[in-house]
Amino acid sequence: MNNYLKMEFWSISSNEGLARTAAAAFFSELDPTFEELADVRTAVSEAVTNAIVHGYREKMGIIKMECSTDELGLFTVIISDEGCGISDIEQAMQPFFTTARGEERTGMGFAVMQAFMDTVEVDSVPGMGTTVKMTKQASIKYE
């Protein structure tokens, strides 16, 4: 099914739940398995949390989330912020790498996104912001 959703919301932590719930509800139109749905919910939560915690450093900013689905059952979500950006993306995506150890971050966010989604692409410009694009194929059978 072809569909599109765009949301913009403030970088406040209560919106983490809102964003992952909206993304999962949108994805559920493709009749995903319970597991696939939970994967999307978790990955979206990670990306939105990163925008709030790292991108905007808990300051107010706008986070954009775009979701789309196609007729082949592919779900795509793009989460972007206009925060501080990432200087070394490869390093940032290493499991256990974090720039916020003192805040009880574990550096496992990107690892979780990569494990739970089919593809994860990160685009970032220091001082300009970060965009995370992820896809997930729903294992639906089209007759």
């Binding site: 932590s13 209560s14 983490e16 739940g17 939970a38 919910r41 978790t42 939560s45 990670e46 949390t49 709030i52 915690v53 499991p95 256990f96 150890r101 805040e103 009880e104 971050r105 574990t106 496992m108 966010g109 690892a111 979780v112 494990a115």
Partner: protein, 123 residues
Amino acid sequence: MNVAVERKGSCVMAKLSGEIDHHAAKSVREAIDSELDRGNVCELVLDFADVSFMDSSGLGVIFGRYNKLLAQGGSLKLKRVPKRIERILRMAGVYTLVDRKESKTERMRTDVSVDNFRSKCNE
């Protein structure tokens, strides 16, 4: 998110329910630490049976409590961990060091090696 903390002697039991994300982490941390900070804790048991969602922010809460307990010489147990959450714990390397036991009541009970866990986290 709700945390019910109960203390029996030197054992602290925290029953978690709901969703543990970055938003909820602060209140979970505060609820548990208010008991840990009273000192003399030999064992902290976190019961995950009613946790419906957890992401890596929840891992941070668990790791943080480990480190805190370590300073007091206490140990941590994770109890009744749902499959989904177990997967995230496994990704963080917990289960390479874990002695996992399932009791007769089908509960999953996990003892994690604090030392190895911490060194991994502080790399």
